[in-house]
Subunit: 281 residues, 2 copies
């Protein structure tokens, strides 16, 4: 998808959210916003908004000298790990564990500091487990999983990764080989290898990084190794709005599991904001 | 009040609202947003946000070659005139007509295209006529009106001006001389002489303009004639958030009648967004 006029206020909102993670100094916040306005002015409208937000978050990290989201990512991983035993039980006890785990993976996508600063995870779980969600290609997903031996799983956010763990466990329990992909380095609250280690993912499946600090998966900025993995993958599970923005145009057989959190993406999809999707490419 | 970081996304939102009044051309909208980003980058944080929004609306009018709000102002004046007979009746039938008219003047302030693009005027009227509003200095207002012979009434928005007419009628009915003030030229959906004429205000009271195209009342940009009027006024009735932002620091005896519509102003006041105020300076 492309960038729209309505993305511009959100670019600044994202900047403010990032700055407030690290500093209460209003003067510094205001100077920083003014400093990044040229980054926003240079937005390529033909590219997904994830390009501009990637540049923005790079500029903020560079200027502040550290990753604004490091602490909150750790906190959300811990909080989600606290929910894990009960969620694991819910999956195991359910009539269709893969369905339940897929829905919970969508529920976990509510954790996104690019858009929200507070998270109603219990509300999100309840909504995700209702019979109907806005787009539900689960039957195709089930068929695709059955047909394939290996799955490339593109992770999204900290906290959410614990919910992904539930789905990866179910996929592996059905005999599939899952390779999970984290970001090459810090960007927003996206997971890196540090987060995967915190939630014990490498004990469960192979975890690799995509060599990139981009929001979503901007293929031309990923490592040659990742691109080779992506090319040869039979089936991709893509988590989150950023991955949808950046990968919805590729021809790869992909299932996008996410919540359409912003007005722009929702309008592009013809859905209302807050919609949940398990969407076939 | 000063400008805060949270004003920046709103500066862009206001730009988008203005552009969409005149053009559906997304390419033009996007180019215009990029063109006005330097105006936003130049924001003086020690001044009220109304300074920056004034510069923004000037840049937009200049670039588009016309006033984006002219048609919608006309429409909202007509809509409000349609409500006028029933509202007039409500004022006359009420136990305390001045109280009712003051509250309806606050209700009318919900019409503001700087912040909203849709207006729930009936809901606003209902809320305004409830016994309690967030700040209610009506007893002081009543006393101040009784003590004075003449009132300078700073108008705000189109549509809302019909609600102001109700209050001006009540003030004049109690023997006060009211001078109503419009903007010197077009800015956002603020009233100019054209709007005053459309709603018949000059038949009721003297109407003058402040010689300025600023959001709110930025005294140093108003005409010498207006400043002289303002200086000598015994009592000022100030409508709207823009006038509050720009006049709350003056020592003039003023009553601010408005709805605190944005998060920044509401936080500054210690109120929740959407609060209604009849506030003594």
């Amino acid at each position: 998808m492309r960038t729209y006029a309505d993305c511009f206020p959100c670019f600044i909102r994202q900047t403010i959210i990032a700055l407030r993670q690290l500093t209460d100094d209003e003067g510094l916040q205001e100077r920083m916003i003014k400093e990044v306005l040229p980054v926003i002015a240079a937005a390529d409208m033909e590219k997904p908004p994830a390009y501009t937000t990637t540049f923005l978050h790079r500029a903020i990290r560079q200027r502040l000298g550290e990753d604004p989201f490091r602490n909150i990512k750790h906190t959300y991983n811990s909080l989600a790990l606290g929910l894990y035993p009960r969620l694991r039980e819910r999956v195991r006890e359910s009539a269709e564990p893969l369905w339940t785990a897929a829905r919970l993976a969508i529920a976990g996508n509510v954790i996104d500091f690019g858009i929200f600063t507070s998270v109603d995870i219990n509300g999100s779980v309840t909504r995700a487990l209702e019979p109907c969600i806005a787009v539900d290609d689960y039957p195709s997903f089930l068929a695709a999983v059955r047909e394939t031996d290996s799955i490339l799983y593109l992770l999204d956010n900290a906290g959410e990764i614990v919910f992904d763990r539930l789905l990866i466990e179910e996929l592996q329990a059905s005999g599939k080989k899952v390779k999970a992909v984290v970001k090459g380095s810090a960007v927003l609250n996206d997971v890196t290898m540090e987060d995967a280690l915190q939630v014990g993912l490498p004990e469960l499946c192979e975890v690799t990084d995509n060599g990139s600090d981009a929001i979503g998966t901007i293929l031309e900025w990923t490592s040659a190794e990742f691109r080779a993995e992506f090319e040869k993958a039979d089936l991709v599970v893509s988590k989150g709005q950023g991955n949808f923005e950046t990968l919805c145009g590729t021809r790869k057989r992909t299932f996008f599991l996410f919540q359409s959190k912003c007005e722009v993406v929702s309008k592009d999809l013809g859905l209302s904001a807050g919609s949940m999707l398990l969407k076939k490419s």
